[in-house]
Subunit: 374 residues, 2 copies
């Protein structure tokens, strides 16, 4: 069977570009995936990890005869890249991107590309605190929401082609207007990033006085600030290209934090019989947070889990996995929750089907393993 | 061999109290662990999950003849609990607690307890977004930092007894002054919590206009706000009892976020040749964040990892685990990174020793499995 695309070029073999390359290569959607980057090491790695069939440092060679070009470099580099490749694109070749802001990008690139090459803005909602081609992963975009931002004048055929590429990645297309997209990501992505940066900043000032404070940073602080380890260049570009909506959200956030602070200052002083505002706010935040779908659970089929407690010795996981495998029960997810060498551990095992979890419960407990549903 | 304690009573069989009970029960440090709670279901669960040898709803019965009483209820309930049990404590029985703030607690309880019963403030630096006895876990405090806040007048013998209890939990004692403790936790725990609450609040207001915004909340937002799902009552008590230091930290954080906001507003406008302040701040935040020890890695022995990519079918994990177990290689940690039913997955496997990881690399690749060191 012939493949839907003859040639797709990816410009920028970093975390996202590399992951897309791997998924397209394995998804067999194109006869040839061409990877382009200025960094020769990234290109070598792209070849050896099968993120591209061919690699090119030269953008003109990379985009030659490609039906689709995917821009996966920091957004502020797009204009110079498009200027360099523009005259070498096939007429009708589709250009798309993976950048985190869309208003600025769509306006700039449509102007530069003119009528010969349709542009469809894209933004896969997945990432990692890892940087570069080393962090690329064939499954990074699996089940992720992949936003596309066409408008009235966007060529429908081009949109359909980009959708088919997204489908080949195993991701889910979601069409939004550029304005909707930029507002939403300012909320769910750019604001949390800047908040995490400011939190780490605050810790930095406290460590000057109390160097041991990082020892006390339990899971809560680490989780809250994990994203602050993201690529500074990328986040700089995001801040610059979504400046107004981001600053609006920071203002919004600050006013709510200010309210919360005032409630803390007066807590315990409420008139009898009325609900304390701080309690109400904490409860509401808990409820809303719990309503947000957990790790991939909103997108993956529901996971049914059991928790086992086992001694920590060679072969224990293998032993359990074998018991389950022998019964044809597939482990969808496994996580070692806590373990101390030579003592024991708590392990969470997830299954796609409820009846698999039930069966696992039986099989494991019959073997004398401490196990419960959760 | 006789056990170090005859009887330890835990007041409050929730997440922490229950986890302590399980660890002390299994650690065989006391002849009897007594669990006390007003909630009968929690007591039943405590018995059935071996978090206590005996349970009591009545505090007087619970603390009778106990050598140590561990308070594990929300901190603002301590005074009434201490008043109720005070006249029924053995002279010399040690009282300790697990509360997240210390200045207020130590002052209140020492006044109430007087000279007959030494008090040692404690705070295990571990938690979970799960609530109550259902979330209790024998390994929750394993390898956690457990802060103790004695002062000049604290009885040394009582401190040593509490330290031996902490050791039996598998946690690590860290002695700090109450002031140091309260400042540090305001930074690493209470501030991040209030920031997460304000972020969720902001999202709540945005969802009114854009209900689908939560669909876009990728890992970043979820991680940053996970702690906002914590117990509202507990966090209310924390805010009230560490009010001034917490508000000080919120102000500190707000001023740094304000600086960051101004840098975003002027980004791209820096005079040629000087470093853009926003870039510098993002880079510094990344560097500092990366310097914070990862999940338990600061406390556990170093973990050496390999990454494997395998088809997702029944028995694959068992097959790999068996290959490793047959060679006497112990899996210290395993995590399924990404998986799609019927396709394949990326799995991270951790080992305590570098040579185990090397050997695993050999064994797995000889079996035709795609594997790399990471």
């Amino acid at each position: 069977m012939s493949r839907p695309f003859q040639r797709i070029a990816i410009v920028g073999m970093g975390l996202i570009g590399g992951s897309i390359g791997m998924a397209l290569y394995q998804g067999k959607i194109a006869e040839e995936v061409v990877g382009c980057d200025l960094n020769v090491e990234s290109l070598d790695l792209a070849l050896s990890t099968k993120a591209a069939h061919r690699v090119e440092k030269d953008i003109v060679k990379a985009v030659k005869d490609a039906e689709m070009v995917i821009l996966a470099t920091p957004v502020r580099t797009y204009p110079s890249i498009v200027k360099a490749m523009k005259d070498h694109l096939e007429v009708g070749a589709i250009v798309t991107d993976v950048g985190s802001t869309k208003s600025w990008v769509v306006k700039e690139l449509e102007t530069l590309l003119g009528d010969d090459n349709p542009f469809v803005g894209g933004h896969p909602m997945a990432g990692s605190e890892k940087k570069g081609m080393e962090g690329a992963d064939r499954y990074l975009l699996e089940n992720a929401v992949y936003v596309l931002t066409p408008h009235d004048r966007t060529c429908r055929k081009a949109l359909e082609k980009v959708k088919s590429m997204v489908q080949a990645l195993g991701a889910r297309s979601l069409v939004l207007s550029v304005e909707e997209h930029d507002k939403m990501v300012a909320m769910v992505s750019h604001l949390p990033h800047m908040v995490a940066v400011a939190l780490v900043d605050t810790l930095g000032e406290v460590t000057k006085e109390h160097p041991s404070v990082t020892m006390l940073a339990a899971g809560g602080f680490r989780d809250t600030t994990r994203i602050a380890a993201g690529d500074p260049q990328m986040w700089y570009d995001i801040a610059c290209t979504n400046r107004n909506l981001l600053v609006e959200k920071i203002d919004h956030f600050q006013s709510l934090l200010e309210k919360l602070k005032r409630e803390i200052l007066t807590c315990g002083q409420t008139i009898q019989g009325t609900e304390e505002p701080l309690k109400v706010r904490l409860q509401k935040a808990r409820d809303l947070r719990l309503s947000i779908p957990g790790k991939a659970k909103g997108l993956l089929p529901g996971i049914h889990e059991v928790i086992v407690t086992v001694p920590d010795r060679p072969g224990m996981i293998g032993h359990m996995a074998r018991l389950l495998g022998d019964q044809g029960i597939n482990i969808a997810d496994i996580e070692i929750l806590r373990v101390r060498e030579g003592d024991g551990g708590t392990i969470r095992i997830g299954f796609y089907q409820a009846h698999e979890a039930e069966k696992a419960l039986q099989v494991l407990s019959q073997d004398g393993i401490i196990v419960k549903r959760c």
